[in-house]
Symmetry: C2
Subunit: 208 residues, 2 copies
DNA sequence: GCGCTCTTTGAACGTTGTTCAAAACATATC
DNA sequence: GATATGTTTTGAACAACGTTCAAAGAGCGC
């Protein structure tokens, strides 16, 4: 009956370490995309890639480490999306609107994976991961560059960037958790346009 | 040696149903306050109140039900706090600032418990709980009343309320997760003032 | 006394994250 | 070729978890 009495358990030579890291990260991302944070389990993740849980522990670490890998990838993808959105020679206000649109579109297209970045809270005693602060800084630098022509003062600009970023985050967060729809029928995209128009003191072009 | 061979297992008559609900809810809230969402476990919760886990299942339900009880309480406390904050005859703008201040102070004073409201995500198929939508609506109605003198048009006001609410939520969320401090040294309170001043188009009184 | 209902519980089931020690492979050394 | 070394991979085990089951205790009407 072709029963395998004792399988080999040594290295397979199919993946080197980096390939295995990518394999684990993408599989974990897929699990989160389909079933959210609660769908990401160590044993499940291991079985979807056809390895034993211990292999993940050896190469990546525990579930927190896996989550951070997924989040790092998500932030990099977001960064690339936003970069592409502002790569034009449009007016500063239109760039700001394009940035907000791209952000909210990204979130809407992948809500569960995006939520993981904000749902996952690190232990309060452990320091902030460097790569995380850097990724956040890169993204907000993007916003700062867009806002530079409109707000010349550095201090005021920094505050405006942080505030707008937080506001955008709030819109995205309430939208994905279906709490925004309870308050108003407008799309988060429309509300973001309202926010930017009012906050940046635009000359209120009705914008068709 | 006073060893209890077989303890009684029937009703104790110490609590009626409502008292037991309150006992469970407050104990759960305490666990979350001290150790966050991850510190809220069924067995742990049962042991802190001196009951078996099954008693909680019988009276309240599973962990999701317990979480929703805590969240309902949190939203009610927040509502009361905000009501008190706007109970004055100040100018509309000052009321809006007081509202934002009270919100952020509430969050800062109890970040873990407040976070639970937004961390807990219900299953995507199940409908939105009625009490939750109502609690949210009550709070935003408060904002709408404050903004009424400044934005007479109902549609525009509704959008402005939702946007400001989301923005405030974003500031609070990023603040509790220590992500705001990475971007700027200002307190969320200061950024909220900036937001409201710019969004409501206040005559930009420098505000000492 | 008996029976009914509600409360409370110990024990059990299945699953989880994580760790341990051993097995299997690849590679270097003799 | 044989032997040793180091890395990869794994099955098994451990402690804990959420949840369910059936039974035991307590109060109450009769």
């Amino acid at each position: 009956m072709a029963r395998v009495e004792k399988r080999g358990t040594g290295p397979r030579g199919e993946h080197n370490r980096d390939e295995f890291l990518a394999l684990v990260t993408k599989a974990a991302e897929g699990l989160v995309r389909r079933e959210g944070l609660r769908g990401l389990g160590m044993r499940r993740l291991a079985s979807t890639i056809g390895y034993a849980p211990n292999s993940i522990y050896n190469a990546v670490g525990d579930l927190d480490a896996v989550t951070m890998r997924v989040n790092a990838r998500t932030l990099a993808r977001l960064q690339a999306t936003l970069e592409a959105a502002v790569a034009s020679d449009a007016a500063p206000q239109d760039k700001a609107l394009a940035l907000a649109d791209a952000y909210l579109a990204f979130v809407a297209a992948d809500p569960q994976v995006w939520s993981l970045v904000y749902e996952h809270q690190i232990a309060p005693d452990s320091a902030f991961p460097d790569w995380y602060a850097e990724a956040l800084g890169q993204t907000t630098d993007l916003v700062a560059r867009v806002l530079a022509p409109m707000i010349p003062d550095p201090d005021e600009r920094r505050q405006a960037v942080a505030t707008l970023w937080a506001a955008l985050h709030g819109l995205a967060s309430l939208s994905t958790s279906r709490k925004l729809a309870v308050l108003t029928p407008e799309s988060p995209r429309d509300l973001a346009r309202l926010l930017i128009r009012r906050f940046l003191g635009a000359p209120s072009r009705p914008d068709a």
